[in-house]
């Protein structure tokens, strides 16, 4: 396995309005990137509950609320917030360079899987 970190350039900063999310499909997976106070936080867009598009959810601080059934996830850890049973989505490291947002797909983390391992 390659240890070299690959940063995929995704889009210009202005394409993600403040406090909103936008989806991008990378390697067949839909990733939602949110602009929270000019920090760009990326998570897996598919809600583990019924597959709702988290990219379309309302952001509340650094959490997002799924538009279908109101499940809430922390954008920094991917963990479900105030959930009756533990759930999580993957998170991806991002960085900004020259006005372009980059996502590191190899850096994907799933907090729950790590805890189980």
């Amino acid at each position: 396995m390659s240890t070299k970190v690959h940063w995929t350039p995704v889009t210009n900063l202005e394409n993600i309005p403040p406090r909103e999310g936008r989806a991008v499909t990378l390697q067949g997976e839909e990733i939602a990137i949110f602009n929270i106070d000019n920090r760009y936080l990326a998570i897996e867009s598919k809600c583990p509950h019924k597959g709702g598009p988290l990219c379309d959810g309302i952001a509340s601080g650094t959490t997002v609320v799924c538009p279908l059934h109101g499940r809430r996830f922390d954008l920094e850890t991917g963990m479900a917030v105030r959930a009756s049973e533990p759930a999580c989505v993957a998170t991806f490291p991002t960085r900004v360079e020259n006005g372009i947002i980059f996502v590191n797909l190899d850096g994907a983390r799933r907090v729950l899987d790590e805890a189980a391992a």
């Binding site: 690959h6 995929t8 350039p9 995704v10 889009t11 202005e14 394409n15 993600i16 309005p17 403040p18 406090r19 909103e20 936008r22 989806a23 991008v24 499909t25 990378l26 390697q27 990137i33 019924k50 597959g51 709702g52 598009p53 379309d56 959810g57 309302i58 952001a59 509340s60 601080g61 609320v65 538009p67 279908l68 109101g70 372009i100 797909l105």
Partner: protein
């Protein structure tokens, strides 16, 4: 012979004293001199005039009719320049000489202008009178660099008013804490943060050394050597009693005109009230003690002396830029033997600090939550031993007997400081007018109509006095913004907040959530009639892309089909769209429309363009549709043209937002084929008339709509519909359907405030509806003109990663 009473000063203190005199049996011919040319107005509300929330007319306390009907000789615009105490006359600037038997000086105070070089320059103003306010209104404009010198109450109010006008405002204060006489450093910091969140810059401590500029002010130079550009400077550095007249006449004057406990000056024929006075070494700047002085003097001067004036309570209760502040007793915590107990909640903006000495309350500062101020006032006044209360001292348990607190208050206690309404005034008004709601109390007594700090107390009084008290149901929005809808509406209007983010930053936890953000978006749109700052991040996805999200993340598209009437051409286009986009399901809805289900977000703009029809708003809390029957056009039973009426009704209300979805129906006869009696609003045609029915439901529960009114013409039916529609928009809680709203308020109240309201009030409702309608547009126009480049399209990566 009647005695001649002359009052010099036509402000709040003088006129309120005259009002009190008129309530007593008396034998006076009254003359009032005022150097301003205006009738008596509520000076406290000048900041609202500056902010554009009230007009100059709306803050008038006594109009000319009042002076006339009370046979008061009014001399406005006449300055009194001297008193000849031997001849008992006052001398006017106009050369007039007026004799008096008794003289009341109520000359008020003036803005204190510190001796800073350059204060005489143009565009340097004070903020004290209606004329000052008008001058500021004339100068203010968006982007104007404005500096307010003084971080006390008046300065902060001026700052907010000017900022609402669009000026770029900086407050410069000499001390290192705002309102340092009322607040400590932490309390001041809380206030400062709130103010900065509103977009006003605050510079502390900053001593202004000079105002520079050539004739006109260009900026300020501070003692530190720094400079600050300014096109407009407002000086609000405190007030000085207008005691000159008394001084020249040889009365005992120190800082103010010295008065005894019955407001008598050193001359037994001359009295003084208000901000020009000095009583036991104290001068006055807030309004509550002035009303008290007026009452004491009215009793004494008419020969019915009551209690004497005991001085102002050392407590200050204020609302500044929407932040409630209470301060009482000594706030100096460096005093030996003083302990402090504190509580802070930074995200709610609540700060409480109690100073204790020998287990007794010594002073208190409350910011953001002043609910318990009465308990603290009692403890302060009574010197209560707090040993048994120490554990609950910051959250004193609410009394199990809700009437006790108001029962313990003396009748003379001022409840509403802004309008000088006492407990006894309120109790009398409740009995006299049979008042059962807070709204009625506000209308009859003016209590709780200015700053609103006394609302809680007024409610407690109502509850204690009237057995039929009807509490207005208050639903708190959510924990991000723990206020009732009524409070939120007041806050948004009062503080002129235009965006959801602004409301959350000032009053909430600065984050918001999926509950409060859409609710705020609705309130802002409704309150500003569409002239708010729309923030799509605060809207549910349906209102970002103007379509209804489905369980698989695709969307449904329902074009508007007014009155359920369509054409072959429209049907062909719908069929073509269904083919072209391989729409998985085409469904006729219960609302006489056609639903295209399973459309991808990225296809929405193209689908709308191909349909060439406006949005049916089937995805939002807004006007859905008007369902109609064929009426007189084709039906052999129809007695009214329900189809045309329905189409017209839909045209008039479409594209507007409502607290919850809003469905309508129009039927041409009582057979009710289009089910108008289970709609939010329905028109039921009868021979020669329309019944307008509201609050029907055929959802989770079934409810037959209530009859609002019966009218003869279709135009009258439209007006009644519009009145109810706007009334619901303005008074329902977000997500409250019309049937819950009608049940909560009662149809009688709704009738009274819509179809039976005065023509003037009806006009106001309809005007606001017209203004909103003028701003409302077909949301699907955004298909061609998106609000941002990625509103509908998915982001395409700049580089496709390889696995």
């Amino acid at each position: 012979m009647k005695q001649r009473l002359v009052v010099v000063g036509n402000g709040m203190a003088g006129v309120s004293c005259v009002e009190q005199i008129l309530k007593q049996p008396h034998d006076f011919d009254i003359t009032i001199f005022g150097d301003e040319t205006h009738v008596n107005y509520n000076r406290i509300l000048l900041s609202l005039v500056l902010a554009g929330e009230k007009s100059a007319d709306e803050i008038v306390l006594n109009d000319l009719d009042w002076y006339e009907s009370n046979q008061i000789c009014t001399r406005l615009g006449v300055k009194i320049t001297g008193i000849d105490r031997e001849r008992k006359v006052v001398l006017g600037e106009d050369g007039g000489i007026t004799e008096y038997d008794k003289l009341i000086l109520a000359t008020g105070s003036s803005a204190f202008i510190p001796p800073i070089p350059g204060v005489e320059k143009r565009n340097v103003h004070v903020f004290r009178t209606l004329d000052d306010t008008r001058a500021l209104l004339e100068k203010s404009r968006p982007g104007l660099k404005t500096v307010v010198i003084g971080g006390g109450l008046l300065g902060l109010e001026a700052a907010r008013g000017l900022q609402v006008r669009g000026c770029e405002v900086t407050v410069v204060h000499l001390m290192d804490t705002l309102m340092e006489r009322q607040l400590d450093a932490t309390g001041g910091a809380y206030l400062k943060r709130k103010i900065e969140n509103l977009g006003i810059r605050v510079m502390l401590p900053q001593q202004t050394a000079a105002l520079y500029g050539n004739g006109r002010v260009d900026g300020l130079r501070f003692a530190s050597g720094e400079e600050l550009e300014a096109d407009l400077v407002v000086i609000a550095a405190g007030i000085r009693p207008n005691a000159e007249l008394g001084r020249k006449a040889g009365l005992d004057v120190r800082r103010g005109i010295v008065v005894d406990d019955f407001m008598q000056t050193s001359d037994p024929h001359i009295f003084a009230v208000g901000e020009c006075t000095e009583h036991r070494g104290q001068t006055f700047g807030l309004v509550a003690p002035l009303f008290e002085q007026g009452r004491v003097l009215a009793g004494a001067i008419t020969g019915h002396p009551g209690p004497s004036f005991a001085g102002a309570s050392p407590a200050t209760k204020l609302k500044i830029m929407g932040v409630e502040i209470f301060s009482a007793g000594s706030i100096d915590d460096t005093e030996p033997g003083v302990e402090t107990v504190r509580y802070e909640d930074p995200s709610l903006g609540v700060y409480k600090k109690l100073l204790l000495k020998d287990n007794r309350l010594h002073g208190v500062i409350l910011v953001g939550d002043i609910e318990d101020e009465h308990v603290y006032q009692d403890w302060l006044r009574g010197g209560t031993d707090l040993t048994p209360h120490r554990r609950q001292i910051l959250f004193p348990p609410r009394d199990p007997d809700p009437g006790l607190e108001v029962a313990a208050m003396p009748d003379s206690e001022t409840i509403c400081g802004c309008n000088g309404v006492r407990k006894s005034d309120i109790v009398q008004a409740i009995h006299k007018h049979g008042i059962v709601t807070l709204q009625e109390l506000k209308e009859k007594t003016r209590a709780s109509t200015s700053c609103g700090t006394c609302t809680g107390l007024c409610e407690k009084l109502l509850r204690a006095v009237t057995p039929d008290f009807q509490e207005e149901t208050k639903t708190t929005l959510c924990s991000c913004l723990p206020f009732s809808y009524e409070q939120l509406r007041d806050m948004i209007r009062g503080q002129q907040l235009k965006s959801a983010e602004e409301v959350l930053n000032v009053y909430g936890n600065r984050k918001g959530c999926e509950v409060c953000k859409p609710a705020l978006s609705y309130l802002l749109d409704m309150l500003w009639c569409g002239a708010h700052e729309e923030d799509r991040s605060a809207r549910f996805i349906n209102d970002r892309v103007h379509a209804n999200i489905q369980k698989d993340g695709t969307f449904s598209v329902v074009p508007r089909m007014r009155g359920g009437v369509t054409t072959p051409d429209e049907l062909r286009r719908i069929a073509d769209v269904a083919d072209k986009y391989k729409v998985p399901m085409v469904k006729v809805t219960g609302s006489q429309r056609i639903d295209l289900l399973g459309i991808k977000k990225a296809d929405l703009p193209k689908v709308w363009a191909d349909l060439g029809m406006p949005s049916g708003q089937a995805y939002t809390k807004g006007v859905r549709m008007v369902k109609t029957c064929v009426g007189t056009e084709f039906c052999r039973f129809g007695v009214q043209d329900s189809t045309s009426a329905g189409i017209e009704l839909e045209r008039r209300l479409e594209n507007l937002f409502t607290p919850h979805k809003f469905k309508m129906g129009v039927v041409g006869c009582p057979r009710n084929c289009a089910e108008a009696t289970v709609k939010d609003l329905g028109l039921v045609g009868q021979d020669g008339s329309w019944q307008v029915v509201v609050g029907g439901a055929a959802g989770k529960s079934v409810r037959k709509a209530d009859l609002l009114t019966t009218v003869e013409t279709t135009e009258q039916a439209m007006e009644a519909s519009n009145l109810f529609f706007q009334y619901y928009r303005e008074n329902a809680n977000y997500l409250e359907r019309s049937y819950d709203f009608v049940e909560r308020l009662g149809i009688e109240k709704i009738r009274k405030e819509t179809v039976y309201a005065s023509e003037k009030d009806k006009r106001k409702l309809l005007d606001r509806l017209d203004r909103s309608k003028a701003m409302a547009k077909d949301a699907w126009l955004e298909g061609a003109h998106p609000v941002n480049p990625t509103q509908f399209v998915q982001i395409q990566p700049l580089e496709v990663p390889t696995a």
